[in-house]
Every structure is written in C-alpha cells, then in structure tokens.
C-alpha cells in the first residue's frame, strides 16, 4: 500500500527519467522499469497509459507512430524540451525531499 502511494507520487518523475535514456513505447517502458528497478517497480499497465497520455496532453512528451526494427508499428514516446525542464525541477525537488527525509528517518547516517 505504502509502496503504491510512493509510486503514484513519483510516476511522472520515473516516466520522464526513463524517456531521457531513449524514446520508448509503452510495453518497453514497463519492462525497462522492472529491469532497472530489479523488479521493485511494477506498473499497473492500464495506469501507465493514462499517465503517458496525461504527460502528452501537458506537452511534456510527444508520441509518434514508428516502425520498430522487428517491423512492428508502435507508438514511441519522446521527451520534449518542456518535459526536460520539468524533469529537472522534479529531480531537484526529489533530491531536497529525500535528503530532508533521510535526516529524520536515518539521523545517524546523515
């Protein structure tokens, strides 16, 4: 439950961060997210598409139909300049938040 709430609050950051690596299609993002987080992040797939379309409506990403190397037609998502600027502000916020949270959760370490 707690993990789901954390994931819900970080969906935009995670998706935009993933798209800075390379343009990806929906299913590729699900697999990549699982792989890079070693199975920690498992997106509810229906939710992923709603989030992607919301980001696209906000102009943070752009979706284009393209034919992949295997010959299949898929909708690839690209991060836009607006999305990159937004991601930078999200990353800054995330760093400040996690540092502040760590100072309280793990006072000995910080």
């Amino acid at each position: 439950m707690y993990r789901r709430e954390l994931l819900k609050g970080s969906t935009e950051t995670l998706l935009l961060s993933l798209l800075t690596l390379e343009p990806m299609y929906g299913y590729q993002m699900v697999r990549e997210m699982e792989k890079r987080s070693k199975g920690y992040f498992r997106f509810k797939e229906g939710t992923l598409y709603s989030a992607l379309h919301r980001l696209e409506e906000d102009g943070l990403i752009d979706g284009k139909w393209q034919t992949s190397a295997s010959g299949q037609n898929r909708r690839y998502y690209y991060i836009t300049v607006k999305g990159q600027n937004f991601l930078e502000s999200l990353q800054e916020e995330w760093k400040s938040f996690s540092q502040a949270a760590n100072m309280i959760i793990e006072p000995g370490i910080s």
Partner: protein
C-alpha cells in the same frame, strides 16, 4: 486479432467517450501492447490462448483504463472553454439588450452562431462546438412549435368556418419543412449521441429555456406581446439563466471526471431552469417548480436512454454480422 482482444477493445471503446480519432489511436496502442506482452509470454512457453488472456488481464478493467484516458484527454483549454461558453453569453446579451425584437439582429446573430456551429461540426467536432450546435438547432426546433400551432389552428378553422387563415402555400411549406428539418435535426442528434450522450445533453442545454420562454411568450399573446414593457422586464431573468448556462458549461469543460460532469449538468441545470420558470410564473407553486425541474432533468437524461437504445441496435447488428450474440463472450474473456 483474437476474440478476447476484440471483446476487450470493444468494451474499452464503449467506455472511452472521446474524439473518434483519439479513440482509434488509443485502441491501436493498447492492441500493440497486448500483442507484445502475449508474444513475449508465448516465447517463454505459454500457450497462445493463455498468454493472450494473461496479457489482457494485466491491463485491468477496461472501464478503469477508459476512465484514466478520459481524465487525461477531456480537460478543455481556457480558450476552448471560453469558446464553448460564448453562445450562452451572446444569447444572454440578446435578452438583456432586448434584441429579440429586431428581426435583423436575430438574423445576424443566428447566421453567426450557425456558421460557427457548422464550422465546428466540419472540423472534427471538438467539445467547444456542441453549445454552438445546440443554438444552431434551436431555431428549426422552435419553428416546429409555431408550425404545429399554425397547422392545428388552420385545421380547426377549416373544420369550423370552412376556410384557413393563412394561404395554402404556407401550409404546404410547413408540410415540407417539418419532415425535412426533423430528419436533419435527428441525424445530428444521433451522431452526437453515438459519440457521447453527455455531449448531446450539453448541446441541448438551451432547449428547455427557449421552450419555456416560447410557452410564456405564447401565454402572453404571442410575439406582439414582446414589445410590451411588462414582458421585456422578464428578459433580465432569462439572461441570468443563460449566463448560468455559460458558467455551467465552463465548469463542465474544465472538469476531467465524467461522473462529476454528469452530476453538474443533472443537478445545476434543472435548478436554474426552475428559477427561470419562477421568474415567468411568480405564482407557481413549489410542487409545479419541482415538476418543471423533473421535466428538465428527464429531457437532459433522454440522450442517455437513446444511447442505450442505439447500443442495443448496434449489438444486434454486430450479431448479424459476426454470429456472436450480444453479451456473449468467449469463456476465458476478462
């Protein structure tokens, strides 16, 4: 495409209620996703049927997916919101400035509204176009009211005194006009309902108000009464009612949750309608005001019932094409 996937995409399509072009894109994308996932599981040794079933299940309920997509795509921009509210504001201005009394002003206003409505219809029917379409249809529908009155009065005169008060050509014109305008109006309404019944309700918002105004006008002695000061005093209340429609339309356009949109229209509009009716009939009893609200509510809900009827007809047409009865699904469908 597998039968399971067809059933899933069909359920998704029905629940989306978006622009047909957006719907096509979304369905195509979801289809690709399911096929990719199923293929990967098949490569891992799962049977084609099981992999497809699992791939579809992982997407979750199509209604939840559609709800998320609707929320992502349905919020109108501020410009579109202003454009959607504009015809209500323009009509409110006509009432507050008593411009209804001028045939020229009515002709100019209607030509402008009709042009924008037709332009919106021909350019993909964005959500802002529906209020303009509503006012575009209001005139032909309002003419029905007078056409029926003229026919009834003409028939009564013919029976009682043996002659008709208007030239025969006028009656012939009415007889040609009624089915022609009815077919145009019903064709537009059906196409809007097929897209989304709530948009048909949004389009129909001015109808109860214009209808009530016409009934009131007729009760006061018809159009000649409009020039009396007493009648024109009620224009301010009509204008306020129409401004309330403009505000409701603006809120509707900015909302993203479908249920909230439905709640807004079905609660706010009947209340505003009852208040406007009370301004016409200040001696109206509370019971009659409730009755008027219920009539308005039933009218706004009528596209929902028509949509159900159209869906039912489509399902049986689909059954005739595919041989699969409505509601029948493959055993392992989600």
């Amino acid at each position: 495409m597998s039968a399971d996937l067809k059933v899933y995409l069909n359920s998704l399509k029905r629940a989306l209620h978006l622009d047909p072009r957006q719907e096509t894109e979304i369905l195509r994308e979801i289809q690709c996703h399911v096929e990719d996932r199923a293929q990967e599981m098949q490569d891992g040794g799962m049977s084609p049927d099981d992999s497809m079933e699992e791939a579809i299940r992982s997407l979750g309920n199509p209604r939840d997916l559609a709800q998320g997509m609707y929320a992502s795509h349905s919020r109108a921009s501020l410009g579109d919101t202003a454009l959607a509210s504009a015809p209500h504001v323009i009509t409110a201005l006509y009432f507050s400035l008593h411009l209804w009394a001028s045939f020229l002003w009515v002709a100019i206003g209607y030509a402008a509204i009709l042009s924008i409505g037709v332009w919106g219809w021909r350019s993909g029917r964005p959500n802002w176009a529906y209020p303009w379409l509503g006012y575009s249809l209001a005139l032909p529908v309002a003419v029905w009211f007078f056409a029926f009155l003229a026919l009834a009065y003409g028939a009564w005169s013919l029976v009682t005194i043996g002659s008709m008060p208007l030239p025969v050509l006028v009656y012939l014109g009415i007889i040609v006009y009624l089915p022609l305008s009815l077919s145009i109006v019903s064709s537009v309404v059906v196409r809007v309902i097929r897209r989304d019944w709530i948009l048909a309700s949004l389009m129909a918002l001015p109808f109860p108000f214009i209808g009530a105004w016409l009934v009131f006008l007729q009760g006061q002695g018809g159009f000649p009464a409009y020039y009396t000061r007493h009648f024109q005093d009620t224009d301010v209340y009509t204008a306020m009612g129409l401004l309330a429609l403009a505000v409701t339309t603006a809120i509707f356009c900015r909302m993203t949750q479908r249920m909230l949109r439905i709640g807004l229209l079905l609660i706010a509009i009947p209340v505003v309608f009852a208040l406007v009716w009370f301004s016409y009939q200040s001696e109206a009893s509370p019971l009659s005001l409730v009755a008027m609200s219920v009539v308005c509510l039933a009218f706004l809900l009528s596209p929902y019932f028509l949509e159900s009827r159209l869906d039912y007809d489509d399902e049986w047409q689909g059954a005739a094409d595919t041989g699969i009865l409505p509601g029948e699904r493959p055993d392992h469908a989600v």
